[in-house]
C-alpha cells in the first residue's frame, strides 16, 4: 500500500467514559500510516497529538468522533465532541493548566500538558469551542 496521489479517509467513534479503549483510534491511525510508508518522525508527531486529543474527549467530554484525512501533502485529524466546551482556550493552552479531578490524575492524566503537547507536535493546531455545545480540535502535520 502506498500513497499514490489519492486521499485516504478514516472515521472513528470515541466511546464515552471508556478509559480502556481510549487511544484505539490513534493506534489504528498509527498502524495505517506505517503501512502507507509515511516517515516515522511524522507519524510519531501526528499520533501523539491525536492521542492527546482523543484522551481529552474521553476525560473532559463524553466521547466524540475523529475524522482523519491523509493526502500526499498532509495528515489531518478533526476530533469533535458535544461536551461542556472550554470557557477560556488561552488558559487551557497553558502548560500545567488542568481542570481534571483527582480520579483522572490517578489514571495518569491531568498534567495540563495535552494541549501544549498538541501544539508542540502539530504543524497546525486549531481549537474551536463553545461552552455547552462542544469542542473541535484540528491537528495537521505536513508531509513535505
Amino acid at each position: 500500500m502506498g500513497l499514490s496521489g489519492q486521499k485516504v479517509t478514516l472515521r472513528y467513534t470515541i466511546a464515552a467514559e471508556d478509559f480502556i479503549s481510549a487511544g484505539e483510534a490513534s493506534s489504528h491511525v498509527k498502524k495505517t500510516l506505517n503501512k502507507l510508508g509515511i516517515r516515522h518522525e511524522l507519524i510519531k508527531r501526528f499520533t501523539i497529538a491525536m492521542y492527546e486529543a482523543e484522551i481529552n474527549t474521553v476525560i473532559h467530554a463524553s466521547g466524540g468522533e475523529a475524522y482523519v484525512e491523509i493526502t500526499p501533502e498532509k495528515l489531518m485529524v478533526k476530533i469533535s465532541d458535544n461536551g461542556p466546551g472550554i470557557p477560556d482556550i488561552e488558559k487551557a493552552m497553558m502548560e500545567g493548566w488542568s481542570t481534571a479531578p483527582e480520579h483522572i490524575r490517578e489514571m495518569g492524566f491531568g498534567a495540563g500538558m495535552g494541549l501544549p503537547n498538541m501544539k508542540r507536535y502539530a504543524d497546525d493546531l486549531a481549537v474551536e469551542s463553545e461552552v455547552g455545545v462542544g469542542t473541535v480540535v484540528t491537528i495537521t502535520v505536513y508531509l513535505s
Partner: protein, 117 residues
C-alpha cells in the same frame, strides 16, 4: 545501555518482550502522568512509572517507547501485558521505588536527557 543490563541493574522481572533485550537505550523518563511523558522527546527511551493501566502502554506505543518498567513491585494486569506483547513493547517490573530505580540507572550511565529537559 542495553535492556539486558537495565534488567540486571534494577533487578527487574521481564513480564513480556524478551526480544528487545539487546536494544540500546539512550535515556530514561520517570513519570506518573502520561502527558509529561509525551512532552519528553527522545528516541530509544525507557519509561519508568508507578502508574498501572493500559494507557501507559498506549502512551509508549505513540511515543515509540519499546521498554516500560513498573516500579515499586507493581504487577500489571494480563490485559496490560497482552497489549504490550501485541505492540512489541517490553514490560519490566522492579521492586525498587521510582527515585531509587532512576538513581540506579543514572549511576550505571544512563544519563541522556530529553530534548526540552
Amino acid at each position: 545501555m542495553l535492556v539486558r543490563d537495565i534488567v540486571k541493574t534494577l533487578d527487574a522481572e521481564i513480564l513480556t518482550g524478551e526480544e528487545n533485550l539487546e536494544l540500546d537505550i539512550q535515556a530514561g523518563c520517570g513519570a506518573d502522568l502520561m502527558s509529561d511523558v509525551m512532552a519528553f522527546v527522545k528516541d530509544n527511551v525507557i519509561l519508568l512509572t508507578g502508574l498501572i493501566n493500559v494507557q501507559v502502554v498506549r502512551t509508549a506505543e505513540m511515543m515509540d517507547i519499546k521498554v516500560v518498567c513498573f516500579v515499586r513491585g507493581k504487577q500489571p494486569t494480563e490485559q496490560i501485558i497482552e497489549l504490550a506483547k501485541s505492540k512489541g513493547i517490553t514490560i519490566l517490573s522492579t521492586k525498587n521505588p521510582m527515585f531509587i530505580a532512576c538513581g540506579l540507572l543514572y549511576k550505571a550511565g544512563l544519563t541522556g536527557r530529553g530534548v526540552w529537559d
